[in-house]
Symmetry: C2
Subunit: 320 residues, 2 copies
């Protein structure tokens, strides 16, 4: 079967021919129709992960079929029993475990969830990792409720877009930031109330003028801009972040945080319960992941180049 | 009646003779037996608060009598209806409202709570502000549960000591920090498992060796030491802080926060519900606030000097 595998540090992955996987105890072999990329895949090709194994099949997101039923895969393996945090044996599917950028995968059946009926196999493949990350940050951690105002930074990325769609489905008013006016325009066409260029130093003032303040922030950047997120929060606000593409938080004003009773919540991936709740939420609200481009698996290199450039709006999906 | 009032910036307060207060609508005039100091009182004499009014009676904590019943006062005025955060009309009793360092006070009866039976009037006067601040941070915000490990920084201060006593009553194992070996010794004699000098750069390693890690941190310092608090947290850990005596948080490692799913929770004072729950908790567990010294109200200057020096262990109480 075809498999896209890790070639080495700072090298694009390669397409290999591998033997069909064999199902272990509690496992099934899923025939994959589609998979989807995450930033994680690019970072792995840059050697920026522990436990990278050359020759390992990449990919965390997948949709496929087993005995006539279509499934998506929960890519959070070995979370453990606590809802508060993952266990020390937790890992994300796709390096060091054999991933989804292949024609078949052997996977523990407990990670399979029936594909929501309203999604195509391409849309469904775009859901798992971004979906569970956005769900946990927005709903399990920040507990956004109907009528609240939610700010989502860096709109265009898979998690940010999914968080926006979930917040809109939850009945929240959504505000977004991006450095790309086109991405803001697209977000507004999907239902965002307003968008701001985070490179404009006055964006927090503009948001304050439009919204008064926000109750929830979903951020994947951190960095120097984090202090603005504290500023725009209403009393009782919650800032959940799932990444730090802009680096460390270099200054935090504690008086603003304690006087406004803010909660700053780190979040990564999600529990098995988060995943199941996310799939139910997506089915109930008929949320459809945004696809940037569907690319044949054989042309995986163009997907890696597009994601490394950061110009995508939505998920990059491989059709197998 | 006697009243200790604000004299001016960088001046000790003065003892004045004031007219007896007159009860307004919904108010009663409480005859005060005792009051207690908070850091806030020292900061007010340094001019470090908005809304300082010269001639205003100081003091947030008090215990007194009205129609034969003994009461303590909830010093959090005008919190409002949300448990998440105080309203914009919230203020702490004692500047700009007339406070408790006086023989009598006119106060809305909704802020009166019967004195817990097991406490003397001096012990009861030591409870309100530190008690509600510690209760909200430890139990409403960080939700410490029995069996968890709790780190309390800067032991010796009123809130830190109360948080330690509440955590012990809740069934938690408590670890403390201080720069004063004597304060650590006293905390251990009250039930703390171990204590560390936060000026020793290896204290997080020593805590890790003793405890493995902690589930909850209650901090009033922030500053450069905050990164050590992130380090010593177990996955799913919660860091609640109610002050920032050491200044801004100058560096926060976001990867540690999101990978460990940490929650960083600002907290100040507490809601009316927090106060009522705190009084119930204190009565149920027979928690007795630690008194550093009982001073006659006429000698208030020695209390202000002692608190400004920071050498106290527990509350400084004025006997009226």
């Amino acid at each position: 079967m075809r498999a896209v595998t890790v070639a080495g540090k700072d090298m694009l992955p390669v397409l290999e021919n591998k033997d069909l996987p064999v199902a272990g105890l509690d496992e099934v072999v899923l025939q994959l129709y589609a998979s989807a990329m995450n930033h994680r895949d690019v970072w792995i090709t840059k050697g920026l992960y522990p436990g990278i194994r050359y020759g390992c099949t990449m990919g965390s997101d997948g949709c496929g079929t087993y005995l006539g039923q279509e499934y998506i895969i929960n890519p959070g393996l070995g979370w453990g029993d606590s809802e508060q945090a993952q266990s020390s044996s937790f890992r994300v599917l796709g390096v060091p475990d054999e991933g989804t950028f292949a024609d078949n995968i052997a996977i523990d059946r407990k990670y399979l969830h029936p594909k929501p009926d309203h999604l195509s196999v391409h849309q469904a493949a775009a859901l798992p990792l971004a979906g569970v990350t956005a769900y946990r940050a927005l709903l399990s951690r920040a507990r956004a409720t109907a009528g609240e105002k939610v700010l989502i930074t860096g709109i265009g990325g898979g998690v940010a877009l999914m968080a926006m769609q979930f917040a809109l489905a939850q009945g929240c008013a959504v505000f977004v930031t991006s450095s790309d006016p086109d991405k803001i325009h697209k977000a507004k066409s999907m239902g965002a109330s307003e968008g701001y260029n985070y490179k404009d130093p006055d964006w927090p003032k503009k948001l304050a003028a439009d919204a008064g303040g926000v109750d929830v922030v979903i951020d994947g950047a951190c960095g120097a801009g984090f202090s603005s997120l504290v500023k725009v929060c209403n009393p009782g606000g919650r800032i959940a972040f799932y990444g730090a593409t802009a680096g460390p938080v270099d200054s935090l004003n504690p008086q603003a945080v304690f006087w406004k009773q803010l909660s700053i919540l780190g979040s990564t991936m999600g529990s098995e319960s988060d995943f199941a709740l996310m799939v139910d939420f997506v089915a109930k609200h008929r949320v459809t992941p945004v696809i940037d481009e569907v690319i044949p698996l054989d042309n995986f290199e163009s997907g890696f180049r597009r994601m490394a450039a950061g110009s995508q709006f939505g998920k990059i999906v491989f059709s197998h």
